[in-house]
Symmetry: C2
Subunit: 331 residues, 2 copies
């Protein structure tokens, strides 16, 4: 979709958390990042080169990526002079905020005048087909969760990186705005019209060589009353050969749903596998990825060991332990 190298725009971010999209892009795709742009008063710092727009042009930057989230997801007026300077200097702009670049008349005009493109990654730009369910070549791995936001994107990215490190063939397939900003392409699945969700996932994960793996970013959960339909479309459109179960063991209730408890890993395994086998009878549950960020090291390791013994498949926290065993479970 949009091209590297990137200039990561941090605006006037008051702290590092506000610039977490930029941080995610730099963590996962450092080779795509030429530098950062911080406005006066910016308190976030990725610890990389500060570039002016002129410097960025000299460094061959193709896209300025808005890597900052502000309250309300709006495009700040104070950013405009920088964004317009970037467009005039020949860069495209990519942004994942709720408010759209294209809806700002001055940005739209500057882009048109300079023949540049504004990438609002929350908005589908492709006319996706209805899914046809046809068996595709190549392999696909899908992360499914007991809940939303339990580490599905992190797991897919960590596995993709580990695959490449081993010289194996893999592509991260982004399905949400952060993933799309990291990868530079993908499908903003939660914004796709119902009839075309599974077709969008098929489009995202097309026929490929027999030894190539798509690492598909999961969304929602089959057990989450608000978003399960999106997850279902991923399971059927993604045609997975392998599922990775993702879980965060300290949640008190489902995210955003105080009356709902997370399912057990056994429940997730049984339901997700049954549904995945509708489109791929050979699908297997390969491994378990646990997000133990809210546990101390000793409790985390003990928990991982217990789950692995109980479930009988490799169980790791890829943040603490790396994704090696997850990848070994696939291949």
């Amino acid at each position: 979709m949009f091209e590297a190298p990137y200039l990561l725009f941090l605006g006037e971010a008051p702290d590092g958390l506000t610039a977490k999209m930029a941080q995610g892009i730099y963590d996962w795709r450092p080779e795509s990042v030429a530098g950062q742009f911080r406005m006066e008063g910016c308190k976030a710092d990725l610890g990389i080169k500060d570039l002016t727009i002129k410097d960025a042009v000299a460094a061959g930057v193709k896209t300025l990526v808005v890597g900052v989230v502000n309250r309300g997801g709006i495009i700040s007026e104070s950013w405009k002079s920088v964004l317009i300077e970037a467009l005039e200097a020949g860069m495209d702009i990519a942004c994942g905020l709720h408010n759209l670049l294209r809806d700002e008349p001055d940005l739209a005009k500057a882009a048109a005048d300079n023949g540049r493109t504004l990438y609002d990654v929350r908005i589908p730009t492709v006319k996706y087909p209805v899914a046809n369910g046809k068996k595709r070549t190549g392999k696909r791995c899908l992360a499914v969760g007991t809940d939303c936001s339990v580490g599905k994107m992190y797991t897919a990215l960590a596995m993709d990186r580990e695959m490449k490190k081993r010289g194996l063939r893999s592509t991260f397939r982004a399905t949400g705005q952060t993933g799309i900003l990291i990868e530079g392409s993908g499908v903003p699945l939660d914004a796709v019209v119902a009839d075309f969700m599974a077709g969008a996932v098929e489009w995202l994960t097309p026929d490929n060589d027999a030894d190539h793996w798509d690492m598909i970013e999961g969304q929602g959960s089959l057990f989450h009353a608000s978003y399960s339909g999106v997850t279902m479309a991923l399971v059927h459109g993604g045609q997975p050969d392998a599922l990775i179960l993702c879980h965060e063991p300290t949640r008190k209730h489902m995210r955003g749903l105080p009356d709902y408890q997370q399912p057990s890993l056994e429940d997730l395994r049984d339901v997700a596998l049954r549904l995945a086998q509708v489109v791929n009878p050979a699908c297997k549950v390969a491994a378990i990825s646990i997000n133990t960020q809210h546990m101390d090291e000793a409790s985390a390791l003990k928990y991982l060991e217990e789950v692995e013994k109980r479930m009988g498949i490799p169980t790791v926290d890829p943040f603490r332990q790396g994704a090696a065993r997850l990848v070994e479970a696939l291949v």
Copy 2:
């Protein structure tokens, strides 16, 4: 959404099948229909009064409903003079075609000039919320199928009619364009953006009195690779107390998917019930509705008896046998 009584517009339909939407409306809501309007050369005939626009006004008609489907789903130029006359005479127009009334400048102008409304029922007009999963009062019944187009809408309509005949409280909740044209309101679920599907179903089936049943029109199938995400949103947004399993036993493969077989009724029961119990642990599979239109009477009755014995719950074809036993299974 739009108001009865209706004038059913059949245009120049070359045969009865082309006017099947009008037929459906008249079959299920005869009390809402004042008459039909047939243009010169129309070969379809519902066997009801032919009304001119003037007659229709005199009969108190509020809405002209386009009850004809032509190739490509377009609004024929030859219809325009009638539709404009209707708008000028004070009627609204409702239409379920792919091409939209509102995109025809002459219709849009006539509607605006006369203060009338054009209802394109395929297009959502409400800003639906994200689902919150909160337990709602009242009862809900959802028809789920082994495949698409196996009789889910018919089943819900037949059960709604039977409930009312018995003096029980029931509302048909439409989720597709034909259902919406029949009921005059509903949610065109396949056109809703992914994140809001389950919320749209919650919106459609709100809190109600304890003895009131919503008969929710099903869509797609949990086992249909193209549309399962839509079905999933119905199961979780609909919060059903009862599921009716729908099946068409003579299908050679899943509709539109030559490589896929229908699941067994046992598979449908187990998967749909497990998922429905995420939002309503008290949900039960109440009965089975079989579409035996492609079987002769003797084979049909034999098949129904066998399935009932095997599955242990009431099994009927509501078209042949009525919906009495389906309703009795609920209450």
